[in-house]
């Protein structure tokens, strides 16, 4: 295991956390879109994410390409192994992207209904499936001795991963409700606060259940934590972040709540990363080959070039993203 491989493990975690913090809110808003009936309210929700969703989704594309470049064995195994699940995510994202562009055009009631549903379902399905995928990776996948996925689509739908899926859905819904409050006003903002509150309730419950379930009955996930008990600080911080998010939301301070929610997503990814390390895809069966940062990575040359490009490039991306978002806000009268 080299320092480069460890650095890439961290970069990958950061890219995924960045994706969930950013695209998480617009997937969450897509979910609330399904429950919004009035045309004006729907438009208001689209307006919230219209300038951001595309750049947010690039985080996913970047994370995917980074896995390809840095850990090609993981890319090949996970993408081919989870074929059907990924195709579902793909079709959902395709419809979602196009519907944001097409839905606002008043062509006919049927056109509006179709693209609105496409947008809502196209947001909800990935939100759910990302959580399911995360749960499966944490728990371990059935692997053969050469590091290929040895299960099928239904192996993925185990109870643990379904609960992580629901937790993910609740998290995205909460995060989306918070972001919506940052730009919406009056009644619409009040409704978004209620959404946030109700999804926060569920997320907190699911998070604590998962925590108990994992600590009590999933020893393979907590192995690192047994070795280094200080790591328990990470899930504890996440829990604190979630609780504070809810408190600040109820106090009608969505800005602080959104920041806290973003921090709790970052610590959640740190929690997951601490459990996985040095595995990327652990095998759940003892005779299966786990993919680790040592046996699945690219050559040191590729890793070092791509580390430089990614860190410098993402720093630049962050700079102009902040700049554009600020100038876009036009003094906060959004």
């Amino acid at each position: 295991m080299s320092g480069l491989q460890v650095a890439w493990f961290i970069v990958l975690g950061a890219l995924l956390a960045g994706y969930v913090i950013l695209d998480g809110y617009d997937l969450g808003i897509g979910l609330w879109y399904l429950f919004t009936r009035k045309e004006d309210d729907r438009r208001a929700l689209l307006r919230v994410i219209a300038p951001h969703w595309d750049a947010n989704e690039v985080w996913l594309i970047t994370a995917g390409a980074a896995v390809f470049a840095a850990f090609p064995m993981v890319y090949a195994t996970v993408f081919s192994g989870l074929y059907l699940a990924l195709m579902l995510v793909l079709f959902a994202l395709i419809f979602r992207a196009v519907s944001i562009e097409f839905a606002p055009h008043n062509v006919s009631p049927r056109w509006n209904t179709f693209w609105s549903r496409a947008f809502g379902i196209g947001s909800a399905l990935p939100a759910l499936l990302f959580g399911v995928a995360m749960g499966n990776v944490l728990r371990g996948l059935p692997m053969d001795s050469s590091g290929n996925f040895a299960g099928n689509f239904f192996t993925l739908l185990n109870p643990y991963s379904l609960v992580t899926g629901l937790a993910g859905l609740a998290l995205f819904a909460m995060h989306g409700g918070l972001f919506a409050q940052l730009t919406l006003k009056d009644d619409q903002a009040r409704r978004a606060r209620e959404w946030t509150h109700s999804s926060w309730d569920r997320y907190l419950l699911l998070y604590m259940s998962l925590f108990a379930w994992t600590a009590a009955a999933q020893p393979q996930i907590t192995a690192n934590y047994q070795l280094m008990p200080a790591l328990w600080l990470l899930p504890a911080l996440t829990l604190a972040g979630i609780i504070l998010t809810g408190i600040y939301n109820d106090r009608n301070n969505p800005k602080t709540a959104f920041i806290l929610s973003s921090i709790s997503i970052a610590t959640l990814f740190a929690t997951i990363a601490a459990a996985l390390f040095p595995n990327l895809v652990p095998a759940i069966n003892p005779d299966g080959k786990s993919l680790t940062i040592s046996n699945a990575s690219s050559s040191p040359l590729t890793l070092s070039i791509m580390l430089g490009v990614t860190i410098a490039g993402m720093a630049l991306v962050l700079v102009y993203t902040v700049w554009v978002r600020r100038s876009f806000k036009g003094g906060g009268d959004y």
Binding site: I61, T62, F68, A76, Y83, L84, I94, V98
Partner: protein, 464 residues
Amino acid sequence: MATGLCPPLSALCCSQGGKLIDTVLLSRIQFGFTAGFHFIFPPLTIGLAWFIFGMMTHYRKTDSDSDRDMVRFWIRMLATTFVVGTATGIAMEFQFGTNWAGYSRFVGDIFGAPLAIESVVAFFLESTFIAVLVLGWDRVSQKMLWFASMMVAVGSTISAFWILVANSWQQTPAGYTITSGHARLTSLTQAVFTDSMWPRFFHTLDGALATASFFVMGISAAYLLRNKNTSFAKSCLAAGVVIAFITSLGQLATGHVHARQVARTQKAKLAAIEGLYDTQRRAPMIIVGIPVPGKENTLSLVEIPKLLSYMAYGNTNAKVKGLRDFPEDQRPPVLPTFISFHVMVGIGGAMIGLSLSGLYLLWRKQIYRHKWFLRAAVIAIPLPFIANEVGWVTAEMGRQPWVVYGVMRTNEAASTNVPAGQTLFSMLMFIVVYAFLFLAWLYMLRREYLYHLGQSKVRQEVKA
């Protein structure tokens, strides 16, 4: 489990004993279809982005309402096209892992890098600034809008660069060694700047500009035919004609350079493109003809003696290697390679002819009076799109049977553990979904066109 999902489909794929349709073939069809579909959009996006940058530069000087309406019209066209390109582009990245796991494992050390660089340096730029360009008109300064238009053009061009780096490495691999069954990067600069990279980049980029110029020319001509938006349409038509001519000629020049590089680095591909079976000096170039299916022979109706030797190597006496001198398992499929190439060249000729006559009419200041030209310009809108597609078919068919030329065969590249039923399912889904997207895209473009013709109902936009 696909058996559970769609039993009849699985039964078709996996009939007892042998497979009727195997996963490799299905994956090839799916990848070819999705890539071909995706490739409709980026050339128009790239070319149009540069047009819009030009218009924004002009608008900054004039600050006139009519110029603003003009550029915003093209920005709507760009936005509609861009989103379909983005949506279908994600599918391309996913499929290397889902369908071509063998390939991803073998070349991941080299091939993942350009895709990741493309994401980091190009996709973020495009997607961040296109939002400003489309939605920022009431919120940011004119200078920032202009800057955003430049970033969209630059970003989409950088994106094309890295995709062509990746694809050119498949054509003419360099900068790697093979150790324990995997290609390993030895030199980034060699792997990036391969033999075919620059010719293919300029040929594709120029094709993108040609695509956009015929698009701009055709839509402006349609407005002029109906006598609507005439001042805007006249200036766009003029710009379109001039750039269409330059870029069409540019296709001839870059195409020639690219062909000479193919002659040097991919001799079997050249032979398939030209339908040449017998190795010979003073090889003729077939102008009208067709490879006879099932026979190692090309029917030649019109040919120019010695031209192939001259064009490929600059010497009429040069020896050109024919297909018969390649082992059968190293020959590309001749018929599709030959046909696609010749269709491309034919369309290129038509593009030069049309844009040249437009240029002449423009010079004589008669262009707006000649309805035949305006009609032809409308009809010609799809031509560069078709040329892009068949050119891509030539490039990728001519590369077969290799996925990495001379290094890895296509049939070794596919995922081995994806059931054929699942691949068939996803392939059919892609066909249905993309057909629907294509119609929706055309419908949206037409709506935008009619709206500016004053014929469509009031449109509501998402405003940031």
